[in-house]
Symmetry: C2
Subunit: 343 residues, 2 copies
Amino acid sequence: MKKYNVAILGATGAVGTEFLKLIEERNFPFNELRLLASKRSVGKMLTTCGREFVVQEATADSFKDIDIALFAGGSISKEFAPYAVKAGAVVIDNSSTFRMDPEVPLVVPEVNPEAILKHKGIIANPNCSTIIMCMALKPLYDLARIKRIVVSTYQAVSGAGKEGIDELDRQVLQHTRGQEMTAELLPTGSMPKHYPIAFNLIPQIDIFLDNLYTKEEMKMVNETQKIFDDYEMKITATTVRVPVYRSHSESVNIEFEHDLDLREMAAAIDKFPGVQMLDNPAEQKYPMPLYTSDKNDCYVGRLRRDETQPNTFNLWVVGDQIRKGAALNTLQIAEVMIGKGWI
Amino acid sequence: MKKYNVAILGATGAVGTEFLKLIEERNFPFNELRLLASKRSVGKMLTTCGREFVVQEATADSFKDIDIALFAGGSISKEFAPYAVKAGAVVIDNSSTFRMDPEVPLVVPEVNPEAILKHKGIIANPNCSTIIMCMALKPLYDLARIKRIVVSTYQAVSGAGKEGIDELDRQVLQHTRGQEMTAELLPTGSMPKHYPIAFNLIPQIDIFLDNLYTKEEMKMVNETQKIFDDYEMKITATTVRVPVYRSHSESVNIEFEHDLDLREMAAAIDKFPGVQMLDNPAEQKYPMPLYTSDKNDCYVGRLRRDETQPNTFNLWVVGDQIRKGAALNTLQIAEVMIGKGWI
């Protein structure tokens, strides 16, 4: 089997270290593995597949001979993507920089793998809450077009990276010691006010836009439409940070073009790769974020008819934010390209 | 000013002790104050208004000469309400027992105070998540009738009483000590499986019904319709327990009969008693449960137009579950009766 030279940009963060776990777990066919990060992480040793790799500083010349460049995300993507593309690598990028660029495919491999073919060097990985919702939507969309979605999210602190996880950890310790909780990061480093997330909810993820929605909320709208290539599918979102470590949960109300049968919906979800039903009220089975961490699949439960209008249903979907919401989806894009001979 | 003989049934729980705080804070005009509870709490001393009161065992004879009986809730209500009514007291009850009884008014004093007049001895206090949603809805409903609501809740552990608060406390300590978290109560004591709530979300509150909704979800539907006396107002709810101590939060999507102006909506909410706007995205102002605890008002933020269909808006409402969600609303019903001379 052919092996590929792989670079990881942002190797030391929450998504970067998950890449290393997944490369080992999935036996990803790499030849060279080059770990790149900012200056302050240079020299760190990271392990995968029983071997140690030393983190190098990312520079304009870091991508020579690289076939696949996995970008963990953040503002660093914009700077380095052109260098990687120029060096002949395919960039699969976790940041929001390129997602809405009409020249850049935005891909959930189970939903729109064929979009990959149109890439010109960069493929974008969608926003985490978008990916997890799309995994629940796609098998249902294939049964009946979706007209309108009302979604409220319950998003884990891992969406703010390792620093988000550390912040919740610190606040919980402060609380148990009777100290005042300090907030340094959430809701977003790019706005001045920070609030504790422990024992709290923050109804702001990312910055606010002119329409009074957050950027996170509009990502769920715009990215979902692009992934499904259906700009008639209407979506309104409320995104909320919750004191959970690493799985996102979403309460989704979906209006379809025609009626559906609950059993047929559940069967379609179960048949679809990467998503499973976990839905038995009598046995108190439903997805919970504490139990979906480190899992590759997304889980759907609480599927039921919305009795207020025809053709409408409620469901609850939960998925690991760092895995399917970020690192796993990125790696799966590379795997599709390899499997189909597209690289 | 006339003073009343008041009994509190369930005086030692989360709602019961809040009654005592509020009676002092609000200078409630009581003459005798009789604290009642089950056998195991007999002899406990509780303080309000600078005086100590000893907890007595609730019996069939506990309500002699009582004018107002405040019931903190739970299954005990069903047993004792008939005795209190027979003794001539007005029962204001926090349990779900009588809420949907057509003979029993279900009251949020700011929304439907006139319903009190129809009581036959018992007045029901609505479910906590229902009350908090109604506080946001009523000023808007007065501007334009509401056609349909899609609500997802983020409910505090105090909804499961003192034991719910203790359970979150215990799990957080176990987590920080590296021990496995134990679950004994949530989601509900009346079903066999229990899951940790710390760092988790449980999409089950109360038991499941035949239509696959939880009882809590159907309370939000049925009680809201009864309070507004509008059975054409359609509501679909998803209720979720979150690791927050004592304020409930709700993401509410509301379709009105005609269009509204955002400023007019905000002004109507601010003018309405018991609810305030806290909504300035540029300054990162929005309601958060950590900051609304021990407050009497409910807070509305994230008010914005739902761009997917006409006449539709999203908002986020937060309120203290033990205060407005329970003890305060109950006491306010008594205050309205006293103020209007209805008792």
